[in-house]
């Protein structure tokens, strides 16, 4: 179906997501906002509008064949009409199927239309995987750039620099090609002055990276800051934010994400990777007509793209799909499930072929041990779950308080300075402690690692008894001095990370939350694990240990405790359930640890839910006032539709348009005087019987177009919304027929309908507004914003915090 009206020449497409309307907030005046194409441009072959003198019935096909450019599109910061989008897609599909019987070309067209979804998923997977590979390799390199440089080729990071050289057993990390900054500048790496110089260079690099990141964000794409997941959740529920998933946002987010991660700030890259993947999805949608023109289909693609994003972040395709299903998507049709899985697999496979970590692993902290655990260890695991829940609730409260302060006070006026100060504090505090100096991913990797004979890190400095070692299986051993040093260093690192993340998440650089929470949990878990291990070693004759942990056996694995702690903290913050467990078990590659992970995740969710109901993303949605109708909560109050509808008792009556007795001038007056996004159409003011509903944007565009293009349409022309308009005396100007823009099936409820049902209708159908009738006559209207305000009021929150329309 060739919609000529949408062909573009030199001016911008009204349906392109990169172009933005002027954000006036509500009203749109008659001097057309620059997003709508000026209608006086030449458009060769544009069919005349089906109005004027013709009295034919306008069928649905006419509506589809000759739409005006702009009719059926949405303003920025508005909600889409899910019902309309879905029915348009069904009509389009029906037409293609009907036409496919006519000719071979049409048959091919229908086959390619069905196939286009899969091709799109393939492309999204490829692009998301490649970008993730680029981000991983660049971030790895730039993180090491703070410490030194490789003389064999400046593009190598520390690990790759030392790949080729022959290292000794005791000095496994050192090689002559890698020079720290003090070695480069001073010639030697020892001594107090060298340490101070290293410190200084570290801080300088960190500041440079973060300043560059925030300046790039501010100059080119202000939408690229933050995590992105709250806004993507809102977009997927039907909200339009033009430019949020555009090309510039994609480029800037990718670049500045690497910079932000490399600067040593306490943030991760998983949340922003979801945003990057959704940008890829949105941009690639423009290649296919089916998805470009239909907002509902596009959101299906975005759900799949979000799955691909998480899949490359964690190397967990199934976890990615479940994350998209549980956290990010609003409507998740079954067809999307299979396609999301496909996109996630393609993305993971692309990333694996780029091989950023040199060992065919997709994530730095892949775990490869398979030690068994004992049922009694569930007690410390549940303790970790409680810790995770407590920390999650604490983090959400303090982060929201800090972000609210940034939003409302003068703190928000200095974003660049804020980033500078936070980076400076983080870098200065991080350098002295070995565990905060390394990148957070490396820290998690080291904490997850089970100590073998060959590990040389401080954390694995146990007292070894070589005569009794049999092969690779090490028993529980007493902790050496290295372990004790590592313990208190880790405790300090824990405190620092707990507090600095509160101020970091939400800054004006791309920031994710998964890695810092996992780090906090991993540190807590490892501390507890080592404590339990030492307890079992020194008191192996206690009754709780004697049954299963005799001397010389390897029973406690501190690495497992770190993993469980990481899962608990992540669950406490995000309140993920199934997706968290699946992501963690895909990280470990084995089913042995599902029970501990589930126990910890469940405990942490229960504890955190007892303290505060919302996860971090929902809390940010509420903080920003996005019009997101929560699908998981039950509405349990006994109010009725008449309590919520507008107009209320003392308000002026509902603004309606009559079906055939208003002139163009009257309608224009109404549209300019009021700011509603749609108007009900009734038979007459006296009877108030409902005919349909017309949207403001469609009305404005149609009237503008009619004035310019049709003969005889003047201010006194009558507008007629019916098929058969009433006959007028011959001297009166011609009638403007606007039946094609009228929605003839608006949803109505009676005024006695309980609000539970009304909220359910809004959620399940994705409505924007719902008309309220009484005894068959139109009484009022309930919009989605009214519903949200009502829910907020019932929950004793501030109803005025719902900002958007």
């Amino acid at each position: 179906m060739d919609q000529k009206g949408y062909r573009r020449g030199s001016f911008q497409s009204a349906t392109s997501d990169e172009d933005m309307l002027e954000i006036a907030g509500a009203s749109m005046d008659f001097s057309m906002a620059d997003d709508d194409p000026p209608l006086d441009r030449e458009m060769g072959g544009f069919p005349t509008y089906n109005g004027g003198g013709m009295n034919g019935t306008s069928t649905m096909m006419d509506f589809l064949e000759e739409p005006l450019p702009g009719v059926g599109t949405y303003e920025d910061f508005n909600t889409i009409d899910w019902v309309r989008e879905k029915s348009r897609d069904r009509d389009r599909h029906r037409e293609i199927t009907n036409r496919s019987k006519e000719s071979t070309w049409a048959l091919l067209h229908s086959v390619s239309d069905a196939f286009s979804g899969w091709l799109l998923m393939l492309l999204i997977g490829l692009l998301a995987g490649s970008l993730a590979g680029l981000i991983d390799i660049s971030a790895h390199w730039m993180t090491d750039l703070k410490e030194g440089v490789c003389l064999a080729g400046f593009w190598f990071n520390h690990e790759h620099c030392c790949w080729k050289s022959n290292t000794t057993f005791t000095g496994r990390d050192k090689c002559p090609e890698w020079k720290s900054w003090s070695q480069l500048i001073l010639g030697h790496g020892e001594g107090a002055f060298a340490y101070i110089l290293n410190y200084f260079m570290y801080v300088i690099w960190a500041l440079m990276f973060s300043l560059l990141a925030v300046l790039l964000v501010k100059s080119f794409a202000p939408y690229a800051c933050g995590s992105g997941i709250p806004e993507i959740k809102t977009i997927l529920s039907g909200f339009i934010i033009r430019g949020y998933l555009g090309k510039w946002t994609l480029v800037i987010k990718t670049i500045t994400l690497v910079l932000a991660v490399s600067s040593g700030l306490s943030l991760g890259k998983e949340g922003p990777l979801v945003h990057v993947a959704c940008c890829c999805g949105n941009i690639l949608c423009h290649l296919f007509t089916k998805y470009r023109k239909n907002e509902a289909k596009r959101r299906e693609v975005l759900s799949a793209a979000a799955a691909a994003g998480v899949s490359v972040a964690f190397g967990a395709p199934i976890g990615g799909v479940l994350f998209s299903l549980e956290e990010v998507s609003y409507y998740f049709p079954l067809k999307t499930l299979w396609r999301s899985f496909f996109a996630a697999l393609v993305a993971a496979f692309t990333l694996r072929s780029i091989n950023p970590f040199g060992n065919s692993r997709l994530v730095l902290f892949y775990v490869e041990f398979h030690m068994p655990w004992h049922l009694l260890e569930l007690v410390p695991f549940i303790l970790l779950g409680i810790f995770g829940g407590l920390w999650g609730a604490f983090f959400i409260r303090s982060n929201i308080a800090w972000c609210r302060r940034r939003k409302t006070t003068r703190l928000g006026k200095y974003p660049v300075l804020e980033v500078f100060v936070v980076t400076a504090i983080t870098a200065i505090l991080a350098f002295p402690n070995e565990y905060t100096r390394m990148s957070t991913s490396e820290l998690i990797s080291e904490l997850f690692n089970d100590c073998g004979i060959l590990d040389s890190s401080q954390l694995c400095e146990y007292v070894n008894d070589f005569n009794s070692t049999k092969g690779d299986d090490l028993p529980d051993r007493a902790a050496g001095p290295g372990v004790y040093t590592a313990m208190w260093q880790l405790a300090l690192a824990l405190i620092m990370k707990v507090f600095i993340t509160i101020f970091t998440f939400g800054m004006k650089v791309p920031s994710g939350l998964f890695i810092p929470s996992m780090a906090v949990g991993a540190i807590a878990g490892r501390l507890l694990g080592v404590a339990v291990e030492q307890l079992a070693f020194y008191h192996h004759d206690w009754p709780i240990f004697s049954g299963w942990c005799s001397q010389g056996a390897d029973c406690i694995t501190p690495g497992l405790y770190a993993m469980v702690g990481a899962a608990a903290c992540l669950g406490g913050v995000t309140r993920m359930t199934v997706s968290l467990v699946v992501i963690m078990f895909e990280l470990t590659g084995g089913l042995e640890y599902i029970v501990p992970l589930m126990a910890a995740a469940m405990t942490s969710k229960w504890v955190a839910d007892a303290i505060g109901r919302e996860g971090i993303y929902d809390a940010h949605i509420r903080l920003n006032g996005y019009p997101f109708l929560e699908a998981k909560e039950e509405f349990s109050h006994k109010t009725r539709a008449m309590d919520v509808m507008r107009p209320r008792k003392n308000d002026p009556p509902l603004t309606v348009i009559t079906q055939d007795s208003m002139t163009v001038e009257d309608v224009e007056t109404i549209v300019t005087k009021t700011t509603y996004s749609g108007y009900p159409v009734v038979v007459s003011r006296a009877s108030q019987r409902l005919v349909g509903f017309v949207l403001r944007r469609d009305l404005i565009i149609s009237i503008e177009n009619a004035r310019k293009k049709q003969d005889g349409i003047v201010s006194t022309s009558v507008i007629c919304f019916t098929d058969y308009c009433p006959p007028l005396p011959p001297s009166s100007p011609s009638v403007l027929k606007l039946r094609s823009i009228l929605d003839l099936s608006p949803f109505t409820v009676t005024d006695e309908t309980p609000m539970e049902i009304v909220v359910d209708i809004f959620r399940k159908l994705g409505l924007r507004q719902c008309l309220v009738t009484h005894n068959g006559k139109l009484l009022g209207i309930i919009t989605k914003k009214d519903v949200l305000k009502h829910i907020a009021q019932m929950a004793n929150q501030d109803p005025n915090s719902i900002l958007f329309n």
Binding site: E22, W155, F169
Partner: protein, 199 residues
């Protein structure tokens, strides 16, 4: 210069039917280097780490062998223990096969640095050079709304080329850039000034 044209190309390409082709070409360029990276001999290795054993100190052995030969017997040379102890010694050693692609790393880092450099240059251009150019040109004042651009087109009085397009390529590019700048300004106001989004 290519990269400073790129943003304009981006802004314009949303209505250019060649934009899908452009995107696919870009995709190909991003994917080709890793896919075609040939494995040079210095990019694979088998690494065996052997801990201290009795009175022999620990040692690390690297050798360039294929994956099937990556075990203690092939890699550890010269064997520090006599024949009957080899098995016990090899049980302690851990051998891992690793491969990497230096070409991929080099290409990606260079791509990344060049994009960052281009963005920096463009940012410097926008902040420093652009206001100076705009001030001296009376026909292209800093535009604030759409009507001005139509006025400038009528004022400029360029001879319309065939095809009834009243604006040349340069002016279309200018218009696109102005529109993009306006969008970024709106975004900046929403996020940074009014704090309406993204806290």
């Amino acid at each position: 210069v290519l990269f400073s044209q790129a943003p304009r190309m981006f802004a314009q390409s949303s209505r250019n039917p060649a934009s899908p082709v452009l995107l696919l070409v870009l995709l190909g360029c991003v994917l080709c280097p890793p896919a075609q990276a040939s494995k040079s001999s210095e990019d694979i290795r088998c690494k065996c780490i052997c801990p201290p054993y009795r009175n022999i100190s620990g040692h690390i052995y690297n050798k360039n062998v294929s994956q099937k030969d990556c075990n203690c017997l092939h890699v550890v040379e010269p064997m520090p223990v006599p024949g009957n102890d080899v098995e016990a010694y090899c049980l302690l050693c851990e051998c891992k096969y690793e491969e990497r692609s230096t070409t991929t790393i080099k290409v990606i880092i260079i791509i990344y640095l060049s994009v960052v450099g281009a963005l920096l240059l463009y940012m410097a251009f926008l902040v420093l050079v652009d206001p100076l150019i705009r001030k001296t040109d009376p026909y292209t004042q800093p535009l604030h709304n759409e009507e001005d651009s139509e006025d400038t087109r009528s004022l400029a009085a360029m001879p319309a080329p065939a095809g009834a397009r009243a604006n040349t390529v340069l002016e279309r590019v200018e218009g696109a850039q102005q529109r993009w700048k306006r969008q970024v300004q709106e975004q900046r106001k929403t996020v940074f000034d009014r704090h309406k989004m993204l806290s």
